[in-house]
Amino acid sequence: MAILLDENIKVIVQGITGKQGTFHAKSMIGYGTKVVAGVTPGKGGQEHLGVPVFDSMKEAVEATQATASIIFIPARFTYSAAMEAIDAGINLLTVITEGVPVQDSARIRQKALDNDVVMVGPNCPGLITPEASKIGIIPGKICAKGNVGIVSRSGTLTYEIIQNLTVNGFGQSTCVGLGGDPIKGIGFNECLTLFENDPQTKQIILVGEIGGTGEQQAADLVKKEITKPVYAFIAGQTAPPGKQMGHAGAIIHGKSGTAKEKMRILSEAGITTVKTSSEIPLRIKENL
């Protein structure tokens, strides 16, 4: 098992002929991901990295029956690429692109929700199920198969945590990088629930950041519904107090709070919080 991604999922790379698309599609193929096609408008009919390139997502999906796509496309074109992917009928959409206008992200997110598409990102590293498949840019060599589920708002910090786990003998079921943007696809809670229901996952690591209220909502869910042990690390513990999105934001969601406040709320929900990323494997060992 694992969550969201296994070795059978066929993936289309949108923007496969670009610099980033080429580099990371190659790495995904090398890891074992079933990359079945690429899409670059105007380059249909060519072959790139040993896979066929199509002009449109519709053609690519029809030809390959792929159910997932990943976007390596500049921010200004991401909106239409994501819409195209959803219209073509894929059901797992991963947006790596950084700097997507938040209104575009909101539109993609709503369209994904309306069509039962799982959207990961934008501005995210994607996901990896070790020894099975990866969609995104998480370096495969730092991962190992195991029973720790990771869900994170960060990218590179997640790699740090994965490596610490692997070195200490704790492999991973699936690692999901949600992305650091204020408006994004799936969040902590969707992943916590998936990990809770995944037999392979025995413990869950949540990596949060200052800003937003996703961690607080995760604390609520963990208190009510998650029975597996959860560990949390929050980046930004020493950051100067974050600025509020005006007063309107505070009225709707309450203050998003400092890293310390988030850690307190998470602790109260029974989650083990740690101060440095290297502390996570130590805590897991203690609890075994």
């Binding site: 206008p101 590179t156 950041e209 980046a235 950051a239 007063h247 309107a248 009225i251």
Partner: protein
Amino acid sequence: MPVFNSMPMLYEIEGKQLFKENKIPVPRFRAYTDSSSISQFVEEIGSDVMMAKAQALSGGRGKAGLIKKVSSAEAEEYIQSILGRDHRGKPVEIVMLEEPLEIEKEYYLAVMLDNESGKYLIIASSRGGVDIEEVAEHYPEDIFKESLSIWDDPFSYLFIDLGKNLGFEAKTLTSFTNLMTNMVNMAKQRDLTLVEINPLILTPDKKIIAADSKVVIDGNSDFRQANIASLKSQRDRHTELEFEADQAGISYVQLDGDIGIIAGGAGLSMATCDLLEFFGSSPANFLDVGGGADEIKIEKSLEILSRQNIKGIFVNFFAGITRCDDVAQGIINASKKFEIEVPIVIRLVGTNDKKGISILEENGIKAYGEMEPAARKIIELVKGGN
């Protein structure tokens, strides 16, 4: 996404200019960077009294004496007295003169793109002109909220109930619903994540006018909102170094510690700051080069740090979309162009790390593979140098 970078807010006067362009009624106003030609404005508004408001990106202008009702005789002297005055670390460079309004009642109104729901939220209250968070606490029944799907057009009819809840009737109700339509359309067309009017004023002749503006833009939309991105506020919200970094696509926030940081990724950059503090030192900045940074960005980051007063540099990369060889080459290029006068410790792993490490080694620089030993090393070097 810069995580604790300053919020991309506009000056009140820039917000009001946007309001005007989008048919949201505002008082007549004019910007002054010196105190000349005030008489012309006095003539235009046909009033001998007016509001003088210093333009600042931090709150607390009223308490700081930067907003004042003045007569035309006093205006010149007042403007001269507040131009250049420091407000929370920034000098006042613009003063706005504005026609005075007769007030029958004050309201609160906000449109925001909500991060949690991905919808536009409209928040309104008949208790405006005061701290709205206090209203929410003491009179929650006087706060009205509506949400609008990101895909829906903000037709006027959608806001009739809201207008009635606020107590508007007859022609004023229509003015209000039209204002709402214009406000949401403006937010959508100009990629604004928050538009707040506090207070919205009802005049004795039943007109509604935005007496203040608070507008937050979406920095990711700069490429399609060039007019907004080039506004003075967007230059002024940064320090000089922060602005330069921003122009180069680097998220950089100046802090006041000893060790300069260059990291890939906002989370890792924050965690690097955290780790230095945890080990008893302090970060001089937050710096995230962003995903897929090339050697030019790395070189630029080092150049920015070289102009900050620091005692050491910690380069920390766990590269995914960025490539370690680009990072290494950027460091080498920088060191050939200018002297890096402080100790530097580099931690480099991830995509293409072998290539990166060998580039550094060819130039006699050792790279660390793990973050904590590298952090301890730079702290030791900095302390040793004292």
